[in-house]
């Protein structure tokens, strides 16, 4: 009995010390990690809506028209005089290996303004080219896979090999991204039409 108590005490003391050290390191790194996440988010928002705009989070829920695609946070984009210019949706779409998280910017007139992939685990050299800034689906005009969505109408079909140029060897990724962009575009456009000028 005595032995068991001793073992428990030793293990308990060591675990407590370890826990204390971890708490200290966490306190130290948590603000850095948080600041990095905020900066990355800000940079992402600016990338899908470049220009002198104001971004603010909208506390609404939008229903995705595509059952496989889900929406996270939603931001509205306003110009300096407070007019609604468009919306940005945080979209999660099922990728080839793991869900792809991306930001989709939708203009008020129903076109896509920009797309940025935040997180993905696609195959290096194939699906990962979706977010590669040097991989061009149109080499002459230097248009990247995500770049081709800019200016596209949300009413377009968004089907790879039809109106979307697919990434070579990565049809699943191309389809997943296209579906996500389409769903976000349709939902955001619908909302903005209903919301009117506000």
């Amino acid at each position: 009995m005595n032995k068991i108590v001793k073992l428990a005490v030793v293990l308990g003391v060591i675990s407590a010390i370890a826990g204390g050290i971890l708490a200290g390191v966490y306190q130290f790194t948590a603000p850095v990690i948080e600041a990095r996440n905020q900066a990355a988010l800000k940079a992402g928002l600016l990338e899908v809506f470049p220009g002198n705009y104001k971004f603010s989070e909208l506390k609404i829920k939008l229903k995705s028209p595509d059952p496989a695609v889900t929406f996270g946070k939603i931001y509205k984009v306003e110009d300096s005089s407070g007019n609604l210019v468009g919306m940005i949706l945080d979209v999660t779409t099922p990728g080839d290996q793991a869900p792809i998280e991306m930001l989709v910017g939708v203009n008020r007139n129903g076109t896509i303004n920009g797309v940025k992939i935040l997180k993905s685990l696609e195959t290096p050299g194939l699906g990962a080219n979706a977010s590669n800034p040097h991989y061009y689906v149109n080499k002459k005009k230097k248009i990247t896979f995500l770049g081709q969505f800019k200016g596209k109408k949300v009413t377009d079909p968004f089907i790879p090999k039809k109106d979307v140029i697919a990434i070579t060897g990565a049809t699943i990724t191309s389809t997943a991204v296209s579906r996500g962009v389409k769903a976000a575009g349709v939902a955001a456009y619908e909302y903005m039409q209903k919301a009117g000028g506000s």
Partner: protein
């Protein structure tokens, strides 16, 4: 002095954890597709291994034999979490790519193996040297594999283009199968050269 150096050398070649002992191979295959992944993994691994060996050897007199493995795990898990938090804070993009494998350093058999086989039986200084040797042994192997794989699979080394643009990268090199291929070739090469050296001595 000579046997101290021998402890370090032991980890680099004669008991290289990856090529000779052949343990902890799953993360080796996974993180060697790009040099930056291999570098971060080397740092995380060395940090955890060296500090765990030092701590385990310095408290080894108070560790009851029956619960030594749980104590090793607590020590290793603490350093792994610290390494993960620091990587997340200061190398966020690389951390996102290999997060899983950094966290899995906890159950990496090289580390728990060295804690049990070396640090638990030797002094603090020797354990420090063993940790350094094993870390160097692990790092040079995974960085070499990563350089080969990234060069042929992506035409770059540490994201710097080396191959001319005309070179069409062999995608298989950055996909998992090539991890086994390159590792196998390295194991064969090391065994062959050690054998040759032995025969030359005779």
């Amino acid at each position: 002095m000579k046997d101290k150096l021998k402890i370090i050398w032991n980890g680099i070649v004669p008991s290289n954890p990856v090529l000779i002992l052949a343990i902890g191979l799953c993360s080796v295959v996974a993180v060697t597709n790009f040099v930056k992944n291999a570098l971060l993994m080397s740092f995380a691994f060395s940090f955890v291994l060296i500090l765990s060996e030092v701590i385990v050897s310095s408290i080894r007199k108070w560790i009851p034999d029956e619960i030594r493995v749980p104590i090793f795990v607590v020590v290793i898990a603490t350093f792994t979490t610290i390494a993960a938090l620091l990587s997340h804070a200061y190398f966020p993009s690389v951390y996102d790519a290999i997060k899983l494998y950094i966290l899995l350093v906890v159950v990496n058999c090289i580390i728990i193996g060295r804690a049990e086989a070396f640090a638990y039986k030797n002094g603090v200084f020797d354990s420090l040297l063993d940790g350094i040797g094993m870390s160097l042994g692990y790092s040079w192997v995974i960085i070499t594999i990563a350089v080969i794989r990234e060069l042929f699979g992506n035409g770059t080394i540490a994201n710097i283009r080396v191959m001319p643009h005309i070179y069409q990268p062999a995608l298989i090199m950055i996909l998992p199968p090539a991890g086994f291929l390159v590792l196998g070739v390295l194991v064969g090469w090391l065994e062959w050269s050690l054998k040759k050296k032995k025969e030359a001595k005779k």
